[in-house]
């Protein structure tokens, strides 16, 4: 499958359908997998595909230095493909300049704190049923037998990742849950790695950086930490695709994916909205419908 992917990218580069391919390569310490930016057909051997391809490469699509390449080909896993859809629906990427290369994925192994690969899949992958990327220009790889599901079911299950942990969190009393997040947020150092790693956090100036006046305390104190993390979760309502890049990036090991998935699930529960399943859908937060229910505010 790795060769199939390299061949597809080589062809795109040779035909000049793309100026750069953003894929995965062995770029880190001891060959750890991270993003590579390939501009020449001669360099496609740098590209790899395996169960260590953790990053959501969609985060690069809105960066000025990446946009400067011109026509971009991007390698996406099924969950990451949904992030590209959200970015397109929010007018952050020009689909005419984008070739979305979806790879069939049967799960990614999580990284241990020392950066090495653990012998276990991410929680989101354990419960994932979406192995074939949707809404992509081309698909590389075949779904293993027994794993194929129709697209509709896959969309419905799209926020299923992490549900076991979420269910545990929801079973807590309000006090227990508050204590849980209090402990988690007490570790936050306010580096904003979550924001920088998130494809959806593309604002030129984040509300956390506004200082005339200051909107939220910038201190890594409990007050500021609660304000920041809750504010970011709210901004991700109906937008988070559950890729888990925030949790992977967090140096303090805060389970941010659980927080953001909670809000995603609320969008699904109250509005039947799942982010990134279809092009041309208006953002949940940016639209109003006559039949919107209001009970959730009360």
């Amino acid at each position: 499958m790795e060769n199939e992917l390299r061949n597809a990218i080589r062809e795109l580069l040779e035909k000049q359908e793309i100026d750069v391919a953003i894929g995965y390569g062995r770029v880190g310490v001891d060959g750890a997998v991270g993003a590579v930016f390939v501009t020449s057909p001669d360099d496609v051997e740098q590209i790899v595909w395996n169960d260590e391809c953790r990053q959501n490469l969609a985060v690069h699509l809105t960066r000025p230095e990446v946009k400067a390449f011109g026509k971009i080909g991007i390698v996406v896993k099924p969950c990451d493909a949904r992030a590209v859809v959200v970015l397109a629906n929010e007018a952050q990427v020009d689909l005419d300049l984008l070739t979305i290369i979806g790879v069939v994925c049967s799960g990614i192994k999580r990284a241990k704190p020392d950066g090495t690969t653990a012998d276990e899949y991410y929680a989101k992958c354990e419960t994932c049923v979406q192995h074939t990327p949707q809404n992509v220009t081309l698909v590389v790889g075949d779904v293993a037998e027994g794993e194929a599901l129709d697209a509709k079911n896959e969309q419905n299950a799209a926020t299923a990742g992490n549900n076991a942990k979420l269910a545990k969190l929801r079973a807590m009393t309000v006090e227990e849950r508050f204590a849980y997040w209090r402990e988690q947020f007490s570790r936050c150092v306010r580096c904003y790695a979550c924001r920088q790693s998130c494809p959806m956090c593309y604002c030129n100036r984040c509300v956390a950086d506004k200082n005339r006046p200051t909107r939220i305390d910038t201190s890594a104190s409990l007050k500021g930490n609660f304000a920041w993390n809750i504010l970011r979760a709210f901004h991700l309502a109906g937008r988070c695709v559950g890729c888990g890049a925030c949790a992977s990036a967090c140096p303090a090991g805060i389970e941010l994916d659980l927080l953001n998935l909670t809000v995603s699930d609320a969008a699904k529960e109250h509005f039947g909205f799942v982010a990134g399943t279809e092009f041309g859908v208006d953002p949940l937060i940016g639209t109003y419908a006559d039949d919107d229910k209001e009970e959730f505010i009360r």
Partner: protein
């Protein structure tokens, strides 16, 4: 002959310090994460030499968030109150040699154009006990910046794990001697650290390349995968940039010092809207130049102890070592 202390004796020593009101910082294990934390009970700590830590000991000398003074409006006046001085004894135990080595690197900075009493008080009140390394990994590169698995720079005492529930104690300073005075027994066992990590690049040569190649396109190329999350700076034992802000209302509030990172685009944003470091390549260049050119030019130390925490924590698999290795290809 060597001096040894058993794990029980070490715990008793620290327990006595806790009972006397001292603050004790030690590695605490939480699942698979190990981090330096203030402990209330010695049983909370994990006295096993580790190289992978979620934080460094720096925050116990230069906290991630610290109040400078508080202010309150009283009638037409504003009353300022200085934050109280750090006034307890602090024992930091279990530091990695590369953590301890960061302190002498930071000392001249916090006593340069301004005597930073916050840092200096904590430093004067603290005793640092490090663990000699028992292993290194592919992220470690202390050997490239003058360190080693048994480096004693910045430590008041260093402990070598003897693998039998005891440690060889080598007191380095008077503070270290005082902490273990009467607590050790003589032995013929001698501790040994692991082999030094192998490094195939020369930081001195890379620093020369950095000096000569400010405008090189290589900076943008090597930094493309960096998303500017700044985790590298927040886990770094030597990174020390901070921001000063006022918090509260006009009636009552405080002026605070918070950690900051040069990897954040806002770090250099001018009020005019102009940003001299508007791409990740320029920000990465700043980080490396500060660590390997600017700081050693000014203070004679690299602003890096080779601990590898940056690359271990980086979700994009970047960090100082991968960056140095990429630059090394340009040197050759």
């Amino acid at each position: 002959m060597s001096q040894i202390v058993t794990l029980e004796q070490l715990k008793q020593t620290l327990g006595a310090k806790l009972a006397a009101g001292a603050k004790v910082v030690a590695p605490v294990l939480d699942g698979e994460f190990a981090s330096f934390k203030e402990i209330a009970d010695v049983e909370q700590a994990s006295f096993v030499p580790r190289i992978c830590m979620q934080n460094s000991i720096e925050e116990f000398f230069f906290p991630k968030h610290e109040t400078i003074f508080t202010f309150v409006r009283q009638g037409n006046d504003v009353v300022l109150n200085d934050a109280p001085d750090f006034d307890v004894e602090q024992i930091v135990v279990g530091a990695r040699p590369c953590d301890a080595a960061a302190l002498p690197v930071l000392d001249p900075l916090f006593a340069w154009d301004y005597d930073d009493r916050f840092y200096q008080r904590r430093r004067a009140k603290s005793t640092v006990v490090s663990f000699a390394c028992t292993q290194s990994d592919a992220h470690c590169f202390c050997t490239a910046v003058g360190g080693s698995p048994e480096n004693t720079h910045g430590a008041d005492a260093i402990l070598f794990d003897l693998g039998d529930g005891s440690f060889e104690v080598r007191a380095i300073t008077d503070k270290g001697k005082a902490l273990f005075d009467g607590k050790t027994t003589e032995s013929d066992k001698v501790g040994k650290a692991c082999d030094a990590p192998v490094v195939n690049f020369d930081v001195w040569k890379i620093a020369d390349w950095i000096r000569a190649n400010f405008d090189s396109p290589v900076w943008e190329q090597v930094s493309l995968r960096c998303v500017g999350c700044g985790t590298c700076a927040y886990v770094c034992p030597t990174c020390h940039c901070f921001d000063i802000v006022d918090e509260g209302s006009y009636k009552k509030g405080k002026r605070v010092k918070n950690w900051d990172s040069c990897q954040d685009a806002m770090f250099t944003m001018h009020a005019s809207g102009h940003n001299p470091r508007d791409t990740q390549g320029k920000r990465q260049r700043q980080r490396l130049t500060h660590k390997f050119v600017i700081y050693p030019d000014k203070f004679k130390f690299y602003l890096c102890t080779g601990c590898g925490s940056c690359s271990r924590s980086c979700a994009q698999m970047f960090g100082v070592r991968p960056c140095l290795e990429a630059l090394d290809k340009e040197v050759q």
